[in-house]
Amino acid sequence: MSLVWTAVATVGTVTTYLAAERLYRRVPVLLLHPLLLTSLLGAALLGPRPDALGKYLAGSWLLQWALGPAIAALAVPFFQSRAVLISNPLKVLLSVAAGTATSVGTVLGLGRLLGVSPMLIRSLTLKSVTAPVAVALAPDLGVDAGLVSCGVVATGLFGMAVGPALLRLLGVHRPLARGLALGTVSHAMGPARAMEQDGPEGGAGGAVALTLVALLLSAAVALLR
């Protein structure tokens, strides 16, 4: 791990991301989401150069390390939104568990039906888990963290894009239910979207759902192992 690559990788990633964020704030098009844009730029730049890619990945240890504390930090919004869980403990848990089970079940069932590679199916079972937890769970399932992260980002963006319209179509108009649904599928991008669409109640539902999904699937992976 060289100091130069650490500096290049960290500073390069941070400045690119912050610039992408400013762009996204001015042009809020989903395909310009800072995470997507920065990753695609990085992939285009480093993809054809496996040597530089390896050095970049080793150099970005600081950012990757921070994903650990970020998991612990999830406790804070969960705690702040505890009213949601306290008001309907079983019902909230049941809704989130049902959403998670059907979503994972769809991936497993449809994947097998279509003859998708088992490696890809297994990676996509983690697609609705918040990024830091999904990356931590990937080795336990024997899948590549990069592949898992593709699924996580794609699901987050897709759910965020179509979720509000889908829920409106289905007649789900209560902010709590909408927030729970968005958080169940779109992890950290869910509460952000729910807050923007449905106010604090939606955001709180999203934050609770995101944490519950991470806990449920962590427990499931631990049991399966």
Binding site: Q64, V92, A98, T102, V116, S149, L182, M195
Partner: protein
């Protein structure tokens, strides 16, 4: 995460002391995730050959999961007394 949550619930850890740090980490969660995503280019051959399956499973899983969670929550849950919006997102 469970440790921090336990300490918060037990009031051993005042919320104010971790709020700023946690808010900062979660605010830039996307940034922390960039290197892992860039690392995914190493899986490009698999994604290229199974791209349609990848997209199909992501779309189907997301639609079904959102519909199930939303409909069930709408049918079951009472309105909670929610305080201020959760921070960091």
């Amino acid at each position: 995460m469970l440790t921090v949550l336990g300490l918060l619930v037990a009031r051993l850890l005042p919320l104010a002391s971790v709020q700023r740090g946690a808010g900062f980490l979660l605010r830039y969660l996307g940034l922390l995730f960039v290197p892992v995503c860039i690392g995914a280019v190493r899986q490009l051959p698999l994604l290229r050959s199974q791209g349609w399956a990848f997209a199909g499973l992501v779309i189907a899983g997301a639609l079904v999961g959102q519909a199930a969670a939303g409909l069930l929550a709408q049918a079951l849950c009472r309105k909670p007394a929610v305080g201020p919006a959760p921070e960091g997102f």
